[in-house]
């Protein structure tokens, strides 16, 4: 066992390994390329020598005597017959060869200049400059030196040294052997290294030419035994075998006095093997391959890239006690809950410590085994951990005997059970609401289930989205998650101080249908809706012609707190010149008195995510428990309601009568003609120029204006035919989905297509498509689409539409990548800042970053639209509506907190996402 020891790292130094160091840290010298003998035992002084560590359980390390998990392994080394260049240092070697004299080894600069450069470096060091400044100065020195042709110290003539990728140097066409290179580097005196940016106290340049090669421990390159009993070696081992073989042959040939040519060939081969051992993707040489033809994964490949050690094992890891699957909706769940498939629940466990108080219960739990066969789901136990640390897997067979042995001090790993708290997450995790704590509900089938109201914070839909789940393993973590991370604690967003969790889509439609106008439900319908609630009292019915009925407003009021009072405009309000208030014809003025919806329609502005005012007020004034209850209740209410009405939409929702179509056609052809007139006027030179614009710009602006108006007009004509009996209109007007603009593009006219905010102009020589005359500036030739999605587009129009559509796609692609990078940088900068109890923001060094969080100490999710308090609302509360109206001589306050202008900005933010 490794005992934890905490020490503070003062500094880290990087240097090259010297041959002496390599030999000193080596546990054994490797001389033979063979790994195992015929009996399957590792050969001494081979690549699998037991001195290098152990990988087989039961064996002991010959160096330290440790067993498998105790010994981390030990390095060995290979003595190379001839020196070999290390590819990783090739740039440094080249620089050193070019800047120093070939015969005396000094820097190719006169003494005074060396001194100057040295002083410049010392100054940087003194000023506390970082490594980059340092490198910059050293680079300058190297640049000065490498241009000299005569050595100022010994007068030797210098020749040009070039690098033949990847590892051979040439001097005037003559090849330098690694040995020669090493000799030159050895000649460089210590005092000349510093001006080149090298600290001679920690490294010598000749160490970049290897004379000994470290052999990593076997734990770094474990061999695996296949099912067939065959051994399969790691890629690194394969590579080291190659190195050893060639090294051996090279030594033999050299010692036997073989011809220079053969020795040189072998030397080069050794260089190749060692180069590919370091990096098998070195450019200029073919990668070393496995027998099967697969390129070997050598040292560099282990570290580099997405699948490398850094990105996939160090910055991010796979974790235990987690699950991932497709999500699907379930309106019967609370927003605080998450549905987990039985199969997943039986794999995910929570450790429970056995105490004298729970021992009996736990024995019963263990007795059930890992797969209890009860009618309802009950948690079983997967593992039992004895006080000595031994883990025993519980099976159906051993469950009973193990249960008997359970005693205080044991820990059992219990399967998930209803009510457990887990973390639920969807990528990309851009804000804190991307990971929230949910309570477990065990369910059949294979998907995670969630309430639809939590879709907006996760930005989830059900077109195949998958989500992750993490089971918390400690009591502290669970407590923290329950208090801080539970869904209900995140209803109000810190981004804009309004609700991010709330009704969407069908919930809004359902409540709209229920509450709009004088909607009535008979006893059967009422019971059907209310039967979804566990504990609710049937309100007093109204009566007409002896028939009992309940109004939708009455039923909706059941979800409201009994002392809630507010009044504001619904989403469907058309902003009439003088608001009729309670008598609004559209039923768009919402008034809630003592928890009763007196008038008005419930829509996006009332309960919607991002905009719901009632939701906002309840979350703020009544707390998160009440807000959660409210959201759960309106979910039930909305689903109950929409299932009574039935709701569907289809292409025939965009059907409009022939006269309307004719009207639209007239409007459009008039507009097109108007544009033609403008173009003619421009060509005749009688177009009146707008101030500050060229004639061309005037034409563009004018025609855009005309065509824009025409499209709006067409939309209006189409819109007039589509009333509130139309499903698509209900969705658009109530804010459930889509907009009236979408509808007018489907039913009326698509309008002008634009790229970069201008009419289309590019494509062919002086025209957009060959279907038009060159220089045609008319509406049709410049991307005006006069048909609708419903009627279908002309081929040219279809092409223009895809031009406009392409711009949108490119924009989003560019924007997401850019904002993703910005987000990353921001998060890295703020990562471990913390607001302390005294209100200061501090970093991990405990130094102050901000004296008061946000300068005002306000939690943006608790404040109102960024302000600490809403004075108007408090006044309204304290004074009552009448007095308040007198006090504030202006109009009666129309909204709670959120003002109309704020709303539009929120809307824009939402759309941008």
């Amino acid at each position: 066992m490794i005992h934890s020891l905490s020490k503070k790292i003062q500094k880290i130094k990087f240097a090259y390994l010297s041959p002496d160091e390599i030999r000193k840290m080596s546990a054994i010298k490797i001389i033979t390329a063979d790994t195992y003998n015929d009996d399957g035992f590792p050969i001494d002084m081979g690549l699998m020598d037991p001195h290098l560590g152990v990988i087989e359980p039961g064996l002991r390390c010959k160096t330290c005597g440790g067993k498998v998990d105790e010994c981390l392994g030990h390095f060995g080394h290979i003595d190379l017959a001839m020196p070999v260049i290390h590819v990783g240092y090739i740039k440094e070697i080249k620089k050193l060869l070019q800047t120093t004299c070939k015969s005396c080894g000094r820097i190719l600069l006169p003494k005074e200049q060396i001194k100057e450069h040295k002083e410049a470096l010392e100054k940087v060091e003194e000023m506390g400059g970082d490594i980059l400044d340092f490198k910059l100065v050293a680079k300058e020195t190297a640049k000065d030196a490498s241009t000299r042709h005569l050595c100022p110290h010994c007068g030797a003539e210098q020749s040009k040294i070039t690098l033949d990728k990847p590892t051979s140097f040439r001097e005037n066409g003559h090849k330098l052997t690694p040995k020669e290179v090493r000799e030159r580097l050895e000649r460089i005196p210590n005092e000349d290294l510093f001006p080149l940016g090298i600290n001679p106290d920690v490294l010598r340049p000749e160490w970049t030419i290897l004379t000994a090669l470290p052999v990593p421990p076997v734990t770094v390159r474990p061999s695996i035994t296949l099912d067939s009993g065959e051994r399969s070696e790691d890629d690194l081992t394969h590579k080291l075998v190659d190195v050893l073989r060639i090294n051996q042959r090279l030594r033999e040939n050299r010692d036997a006095g073989a011809p220079q040519l053969i020795v040189e060939d072998l030397w080069e081969l050794l260089q190749y093997h060692i180069t590919t051992y370091f990096d098998n993707q070195t450019s200029g040489i073919p990668p070393a391959r496995h027998r099967s033809g697969r390129p070997l994964k050598t040292l560099t490949q282990r570290l580099k890239g997405k699948e490398g050690r850094f990105r996939s094992n160090l910055s991010g890891k796979r974790v235990n006690f987690s699950a991932r699957t497709v999500i699907s909706p379930d309106p019967s769940l609370s927003i605080n809950e998450v549905g987990i498939p039985v199969k997943a629940a039986r794999e995910l466990t929570i450790p429970v410590r056995v105490t004298e108080y729970n021992a009996n219960v736990i024995r019963e739990l263990v007795k059930r085994g890992p797969t209890p066969e009860e009618k309802e789901y009950v948690p079983g136990v997967n593992y039992v951990v004895r006080p000595d640390g031994r883990r025993i897997k519980v099976t159906e067979k051993n469950a009973e005997p193990i249960a008997e042995t359970i005693d205080v001090g044991y820990i059992i790993e219990r399967q998930l059970q209803e009510g457990d708290i887990v973390l639920f997450n969807r990528q990309p995790s851009l804000h804190r609401m991307s990971m929230m704590a949910h309570e477990v509900r065990i369910m059949p089938y294979k998907t995670f289930r969630l309430n639809l109201c939590v879709c907006p914070p996760y930005n989830a839909d059900f077109d195949g989205d998958e989500m992750n789940l993490h089971v918390l393993q400690s009591e502290e973590a669970r407590a923290e998650a329950r208090i801080l991370m539970r869904v209900q604690e995140h209803i109000l967003s810190p981004r804009f101080g309004g609700p991010v969790i709330g009704a969407i889509h069908d919930h809004i439609t359902g409540l709209f249908l229920m509450t709009h106008g004088d909607t009535r439900f008979d006893i059967h319908q009422t019971i059907r809706i209310l039967s979804r609630f566990e504990d609710i009292k049937l309100p007093k019915p109204k009566e007409e012609n002896g028939k009992k009925y309940w109004t939708g407003k009455q039923l909706f009021s059941l979800t409201l707190p009994k002392d809630l009072n507010m009044s504001f405009k619904s989403k469907i309000c058309q902003n009439c010149d003088t608001c009729m208030k309670e008598k609004c014809e559209l039923d768009a003025y919402c008034k809630i008195q003592n928890g009763n919806l007196i008038c008005g329609t419930v829509d996006e502005q009332v309960v919607g995510a991002f905009k719901g005012k009632v939701l906002d007020k309840i979350a703020r004034d009544y707390g998160s428990d009440r807000a959660r209850e409210f959201i759960d209740d309106i979910t039930k209410m909305a689903i109950g309601s929409i299932m009574i009405f039935g709701f569907t939409t289809g292409i025939d929702d965009e059907d409009i009568p022939a006269e309307a179509k004719e009207q639209i056609g007239d409007v459009l052809s008039q507009a097109i003609k108007k544009v033609r007139d403008l173009v003619n006027a421009y060509q005749d030179g009688i177009l009146e120029q707008m101030p500050g614009r060229s004639l061309e710009e005037t034409l563009e602006v004018e025609s855009m204006k005309v065509l824009g108006q025409a499209r709006d007009k067409a939309g209006q004509i189409a819109g007039k035919q589509l009333g509130l009996e139309n499903s698509a209109v209900i969705m658009a007007r109530s804010g459930a989905r889509g907009s009236m603009l979408n509808l007018s593009q489907m039913a009326g006219c698509l309008g002008q297509q634009a790229v970069r905010g201008e009419r289309l102009s590019r494509g062919y020589w002086h025209r957009t498509l060959p279907h038009f005359k060159k220089g045609d500036l008319g509406a049709e030739a410049r991307g005006f689409v006069q048909y609708s999605y419903k009627s279908g587009l002309e081929p040219t129009e279809y092409f223009f539409h895809s031009m406009g559509g392409r711009e949108g796609l490119v924009d989003t692609a560019v924007r997401t990548s850019r904002s993703g990078y910005m987000q990353r940088r921001l998060i890295n900068a703020l990562e471990d800042l913390k607001v302390k109890a005294d209100g200061t923001v501090r970093n991990t060094a405990n130094t102050i970053i901000q004296f008061e969080f946000g300068e005002d100490g306000i939690d943006p999710s608790r404040g109102i639209q960024g302000k600490a308090v809403d004075v108007d609302d408090i006044l309204l509360d304290v004074l009552g509506e009448k007095v308040f109206a007198e006090v504030i001589k202006e109009k009666v306050i129309e909204s709670y907190g959120i003002q109309e202008k704020d709303l539009t900005s929120i809307e824009e933010m939402g759309e941008e996402e």
Partner: protein
Amino acid sequence: MDKLDVRSNELVPQHIPLSREEEKELLKKLGVRKGQLPKIRKSDPCIKILEQIGEVKEGQIIKIVRNSRTARISTAYRMVIKG
């Protein structure tokens, strides 16, 4: 001094050097050591001017009062360091 005094620009917040006693009091109030405060370089244009007037030394605490979007006025403290 014919050079421009940056402090006269409305975008430059007020820099007020604290006295020994005020420093002591502040550190007591905040419950921190001097080193835990944010820093300001001696080469900062404002500090340069204060230095010329002879009001600041290295290690002294400067009170900075600036306009804030959230709190209208906010106060921060910085310790003068070399550089």
